[in-house]
Symmetry: C2
């Protein structure tokens, strides 16, 4: 179902020949209305792919009629020729569907620095338009790169539905958003409301995912509203349902992170500010030594504290507690329970860091550093 | 030779039983004078090991008579008991050599969060004092942890000598300094001069080394002057020789970085400021995707640009050039020479990033991300 679970949306996923495997690689999502409202958040990487540069213009007026997405090439650092391909893709979608090209978002994902073959993209767009229907599954598959499974999520609100799809398995570290995500709803909300809800939901979901500390050039999370139910939900209630969808998709991305053998939740409590909690959690999530230790089922809490020490967060090294999978291994900055009591064999690992410095908390979602991660990322382009 | 190459220094390295292997694990360096001047730089990690906290007090007056170093335990996050061990170690050295404990620097390295066995340390100190002599080699071996070889360097100045030893193979990412390094000289310089020279030399050597982005809790670089030659060198000339020693030691650390199969030099040119050049180089050096690609001999320059985009440095993505081992693969933010022309099979890899934004440059020294790195760091504590 994914993006076609909400009323008013058609989708398709086709094989345009962009992937060398011949798999599905081009997706199209069309908003049949009556509303064509949209919001989007983008990577904060200053090296932006051509589809990001294009889509930031499209979203400016809050009107989105369609979104076209391709895997098999990031169309990033491909110069004027690459921007031309993005532009021509939007124009082709617009012409075939009698829309304005300036209401068509474009997303690309794949290798940076290679040109996308325009003729294949245009043939793919034609096939995608011809195949439009209740094909959210195909669309979710067509945006996969190194993902092992498609990611989709559907939640029911009070008289309306929110559904979405996502891709992303590596280069997961958000600036504002991360990965490619399309979320649709048949609720009737204005673009500004969608924008507020999306930023709120992304802040505690996609923004808290950090598989490898590497920020993508192509990340885009879009939210499209058709208003097909005519239901005008309370914005706070809508945001809660939307956040559930975003967190579900983010956790699916976490579980499928390249090469990961552990899903790690790092929860920082009693921070002086929420920013402090996020900074501390992220410092641990990005520490290769910690991540390799978890891969080795080694509750090496010293590496947690060494990472925290690199932050500007308010904390006293002598009042910090660290627990791993429920066992407090460090209390007040000194050894507490023996490491041997910690069982890290389950795939899910919970690290609890109590800063004892305030009332705020945050959870960061990350993965371990494994041989498979190194293998997958040393062989990707070849 | 290492730390005993300069006149006026004795050293020793003994097995105190701190390492489970039974190898050398305690080193002592004593300055026989006539001067006992010293300077030191320390990790900027806010989670500081007990020997760092101690040594920062010792160095305050610029007088250093001896330095005692142990491997087999970091003595970090070990609470008041751990600080007691550091203090007692300095006291023992002082008593046996008729010095003041407040002139004895202490360094520790090994696992964070385990107590050092005081009785073994004290027996080791006694043996080290008994074994003092021209034993710089033993001292260099006694500070090794996962290092595969001891690191030492000796350079002759105009009538004086500078020699040093270093350890460090992982958790190499400097704040101010990184790793354990002891450098000695028989030149006659004041502590303030040593401090100025050391900061200047460390800034372009140890501070530019970043094997895995993980900052240690125990890093310390010390420079001790005996004045035994009576030669009072020009400070600039001394700094040049000292910088050569520091860069030699830093590059030995780079070549022995845990699991590395490539030594990577990332040179950033035409930056608006030196800080920009360092920030850009470091962002690439810490990018796991880039590091894994180099392990796979894959000249994936897109990952270089994606990393640069996360910085605040002045640059325009459309005027950046990237060369790898002499082949310009990216020109003005678009593909240039084919990736296939780049030969990454040599161990040494040169990445040249031309920001075209100014006149400053810097080189960062790093390593690739390999299966061996993951293996070594997933099994360290067990």
């Amino acid at each position: 179902m994914s993006v076609t679970a909400a009323a008013g949306f058609d989708a398709s996923g086709v094989a345009a020949g962009l992937k060398s495997t011949g798999g599905l690689d081009l997706a199209l999502v069309v908003n049949r209305g009556p509303l064509q409202n949209g919001a989007a958040v983008f990577t904060s990487n200053r090296s932006k792919a051509n589809p990001i540069i294009w889509s930031q213009q499209v979203i400016a007026d809050g009107t989105v009629s369609a979104i076209v997405l391709n895997s098999g090439g990031a169309n990033c650092f491909t110069g004027p020729q690459g921007f031309q391909v993005t532009h021509a893709t939007a124009e082709a979608v617009a012409e075939l569907l009698a829309l304005s090209a300036t209401d068509v978002l474009v997303c690309s994902t794949g290798l940076i620095g290679d040109q996308l073959p325009l003729s294949k993209v245009l043939s793919g767009v034609a096939a995608a338009v011809a195949g439009l229907g209740d094909n959210g599954e195909d669309a979710a598959r067509a945006i996969m790169t190194t993902d092992s499974t498609p990611k989709r999520s559907v939640r029911a609100g009070d008289g309306y539905t929110i559904g979405g799809m996502a891709k992303g398995a590596g280069m997961l570290a958000p600036g504002l958003a991360t990965m490619l995500v399309v979320i649709t709803t048949d609720a009737a909300l204005e673009s500004a409301q969608l924008d507020a809800a999306l930023r709120c939901a992304a802040r505690v979901s996609f923004d808290r995912l950090d598989s490898d500390g590497c920020m993508s050039t192509n990340d885009q999370v879009s939210l499209l509203a058709s208003g097909a139910t005519g239901v005008r939900p309370d914005l706070d209630a809508f945001t809660i349902v939307l956040t559930a969808v975003c967190l579900d998709l983010a956790q699916q991305l976490q579980r499928d992170a390249e090469g990961a053998s552990h899903d790690i939740q790092i929860t920082v409590t009693h921070a002086a500010t929420e920013d402090d909690a996020v900074e501390v959690g992220r410092s641990v999530a990005r520490n290769n030594l910690f991540k390799a230790a978890i891969f080795g089922n080694d509750p090496n809490w010293g590496r947690v504290l060494a990472a925290i020490g690199t932050t500007d967060a308010a904390f006293d090294p002598y009042t910090v507690d660290v627990s791993m999978n429920g066992v407090r291994v460090c209390h007040a900055g000194a050894p507490d329970r023996p490491r041997t009591e910690v069982d890290l064999t389950p795939r899910s690992v919970d690290v609890l860091i109590d800063l004892n410095s305030g009332t705020f908390s945050a959870t960061i979602y990350t993965s371990d550093l494994t041989h498979d991660y190194v293998h997958e990322n040393s062989a990707y382009a070849s």
